[in-house]
Amino acid sequence: MKTLIVQTIRIRWNTISRLALPIGFAIFFALEPATGWPQHDHPAGQSFPPVAGNPAISFDLQALDGKPAGLTNFRGKPLVMNFFASWCDPCRDEMPLINELASRAAKDGYNVLGIAVEDGRAAVTEFAKEAKLVFPIALDLNSTVKRAYRVFGPPATFFIDAQGVIRDIVLGPMTQERAREGLKKAGVAR
C-alpha cells in the first residue's frame, strides 16, 4: 500500500516537474493581462497633478484665429478653462452657461478659455459660429493638454486664480451654482 502511495506521489511530482516550464508560461500569460502594460508617467512637463490647490499645468496652444492661447496668456486674472467637443452632448448643453460666463468676464475681471478636444478646426469653427461663442477657443489637436489635465471625457471646467493655482474643478456639465462657487474660489468678486 505504502509503495503504491509513494509511486503515485512520485508520478504526480514527475508530472508537475515536467510541466513546470509550460505551467510557468501559462501563469505568466494568465497574470500578464491583470498586471497590464508597464505604467508610464504622465505627459512630460507636468509637475503637479491637476487638482485644486496645485498650480495649473502650463501649455501652449493656438486659438482658432491663430493667436497664442497658452496658460501664460491668461495670467494675472482668474481663468475659467472649459474642455469641450463639438460632438459632445453635455458640452452642448452647458455651452450657453459657459458663454454667459464669458459675456460677463471682462466686467467681472476674469477670462474664459475653451479648449476643444478630439475635434477638428472646421467642426469647432462651425460650432463656435452656430453657438455664437464669445470667448477664445484653443485646439488641443494632439490631446496633450487634455491628458495633462486628466480629462477623461468632456466637458470639464477648471477654475484657476490670478496666481495660476487651480481652485475648483467641475467634471461634467456646469451648473449656475457650481459656476458661482468656482468663480468665488478663483477669486472673482461679484
Partner: protein
C-alpha cells in the same frame, strides 16, 4: 476522535496533489505566439485627411473599406486656406464625404474609391463614422450620420444609400422619421435576408437618456418597417454592437447604459423574434464608472461558432486604477457573463477604444488604443485562444507620430485586417495592416 498524524499527512498530501492537478494541468491548447501582420498601407487621398475607417468582407471574399475625407471642393477655398497651417494641404472643412473602396488581394492593393454620398454633406466620424453591409450578391448598403439642420452633431440624421447597379450609389435619403434626433448608426445584412439598421435616438429628449431605435430595409432599398424603439437608457455618445444567430431570428445587441446616477455599465440585449422585440437587458459587468461627461467609447460584440458571446469595452471603473480595456464572455447565450478580464490597463488618463472579431476556430482577436511610453495613443492587439484563458502578448501595431485611435477589425477565414485613424495636428490618415492567422 483523534486523527493519526500519518492519516492527516496523507489527507493533506492528497488535497494538495488534487489541487495541483486541477490548477496546474489545464487541458488547454492555447496559442501564445504573437500575431504576424504586414506593413502599413494608407487608404484614401492623403491630401484630404482620411479618417474613421470601417472594414467589412463581402460574400465574394473581397475586402471593403469605407472612410471619410474632406470635401474636395474645399481644396482651393482661399478663406479656409488662410486658417490652415499646412501650406498646399486641403483646407479643413466641415464637409466630409464617405468613400468606399475594395481589395481583391487581401488588402495589398485597392480599387479607386467611390463617393457614396451624392451631395456635399458633413459626414460624421469619431465613434459615429459610416458603415457598410453587403447582401448575398455583394451589393453594398451604406449608412452614415450628418449634423442636424442647425449644424448640431448631437442632433443628427441617419443617411442611407445603396449601389445603384451602374457603378454608383443611389441618392442618399434620411432614415429617421423624426428629424435631427439620430446618430451612431450601424447596418447589418441580416441572415434572414434583409437589412437591419440600428442607431441611438433622442426624439424623446427628457427625462430619459437616449433610446435604441431600429428599422428594416429590403434589398431594393425600400423600408420594410417604420422606425421602432427597442430599448432606452443608452449613453448618448457610444457606439453599438450587434451579432446574429439562428438565421437572423436571434439578434444580440450591446450598448453602454447610463443610469440616473450617471453610472455607465454595458448591457446585452437579446431578441428571439428577429429584432422585433428584445428581452430585458443583461448587465455585462458592474464596472461602476460614474461619469457625467462623454465616454464616447462603446462596446464591441461577436458570437463564435459555439454560441459564446464575446464583448470588449473601455471603462474607468470605480477608480482610475481600474481603468482599461476589458473583455467579457457569455457561455449561456447571454443570460450571464463571466467575470471580466483586463486586456490592457490604461497607461494614462485617456478614453480608449476597442473592438473584437472571432475567428472560425473561435479565437478572439482584440484591437484597441492606449498610450505608449511617450504619451501618444497607439493601436495594440492581442488574441485569446478558444480555451478562453490563453492570451497572446500585447503587440503595438501603430507607430503614430501624433495619435492613433478607433481601430476596426475584419476577419475572414485566415485573413485578418486592422485599420485605424492617425491624427497629427490638423492632419489625419487611415492606416491598414493585414496578416494571416491560423484557423
Amino acid at each position: 476522535m483523534k486523527a493519526s498524524p500519518t492519516k492527516s499527512l496523507w489527507t493533506t498530501a492528497c488535497f494538495l496533489l488534487a489541487g495541483c492537478s486541477a490548477e496546474l494541468i489545464p487541458p488547454h491548447r492555447g496559442r501564445i505566439t504573437p500575431l504576424s501582420l504586414g506593413p502599413e498601407i494608407q487608404l484614401g487621398d492623403s491630401e484630404a485627411n482620411p479618417s474613421t475607417p470601417f472594414l467589412r468582407f463581402a460574400v465574394d471574399g473581397k475586402l471593403y473599406a469605407i472612410w471619410t475625407e474632406d470635401e474636395s471642393g474645399q481644396k482651393n477655398n482661399p478663406s479656409s486656406l488662410s486658417a490652415h497651417q499646412h501650406s498646399g494641404k486641403m483646407a479643413p472643412s466641415p464637409l466630409r464625404n464617405a468613400l468606399l473602396a475594395a481589395s481583391s488581394d487581401g488588402g495589398k492593393t485597392w480599387s479607386a474609391s467611390k463617393q457614396v454620398n451624392s451631395g456635399a454633406e458633413a459626414v460624421q466620424g469619431e465613434e459615429n463614422g459610416p458603415k457598410v453591409a453587403f447582401d448575398a450578391s455583394n451589393r453594398p448598403y451604406v449608412v452614415w450620420s450628418i449634423p442636424g439642420e442647425k449644424g448640431d452633431k448631437t442632433r443628427a440624421n441617419i443617411r442611407f444609400a445603396m449601389a445603384d447597379g451602374n457603378g454608383g450609389f443611389t441618392p442618399a435619403r434620411t432614415l429617421n422619421e423624426v428629424k435631427d434626433a439620430a446618430r451612431f448608426p450601424i447596418i447589418e445584412f441580416s441572415p434572414d435576408g434583409n437589412l437591419l439598421i440600428a442607431w441611438i435616438d433622442r426624439r424623446i429628449d427628457n427625462p430619459k437618456p437616449r433610446q435604441l431605435y431600429l428599422m428594416r430595409i429590403g434589398l431594393d432599398g425600400k423600408a420594410l418597417t417604420k422606425n421602432y424603439a427597442v430599448g432606452e437608457g443608452l449613453c448618448e455618445c457610444c457606439k453599438l454592437g450587434i451579432a446574429f444567430a439562428d438565421g437572423g431570428k436571434t439578434v444580440y445587441m450591446v450598448d453602454r447604459q447610463v443610469n440616473d446616477k450617471q453610472v455607465r455599465n454595458h448591457v446585452l440585449r437579446k431578441s428571439t423574434d428577429g429584432a422585433a422585440t428584445f428581452e430585458a437587458p443583461v448587465e455585462i459587468s458592474d464596472d461602476g464608472w460614474q461619469v457625467p461627461s462623454c465616454p464616447h467609447s462603446g462596446p464591441s460584440l461577436a458570437r463564435d461558432r459555439r454560441g459564446q458571446l464575446h464583448v470588449t469595452w473601455f471603462t474607468l471603473g470605480r477608480s482610475e486604477k481600474d481603468a482599461g480595456i476589458y473583455y467579457g464572455v457569455s457561455k449561456d447565450d447571454g443570460k450571464s457573463f463571466a467575470a471580466r478580464q483586463l486586456v490592457h490597463a490604461n497607461t494614462a488618463p485617456e478614453i480608449l477604444y476597442s473592438t473584437l472579431a472571432v475567428g472560425e476556430d473561435d479565437t478572439v482577436y482584440l484591437a484597441w488604443s492606449n498610450l505608449d511610453g511617450t504619451g501618444k495613443a497607439q493601436i495594440f492587439m492581442r488574441s485569446l485562444a478558444p480555451d478562453g484563458r490563453t492570451w497572446t502578448p500585447i503587440q503595438q501595431l501603430s507607430n503614430a507620430k501624433g495619435n492613433a485611435g478607433r481601430p476596426v477589425l475584419a476577419l475572414r477565414k485566415n485573413q485578418l485586417h486592422v485599420a485605424w485613424t492617425e491624427t497629427d495636428g490638423e492632419d489625419s490618415r487611415v492606416v491598414l495592416r493585414s496578416g494571416t492567422v491560423d484557423q
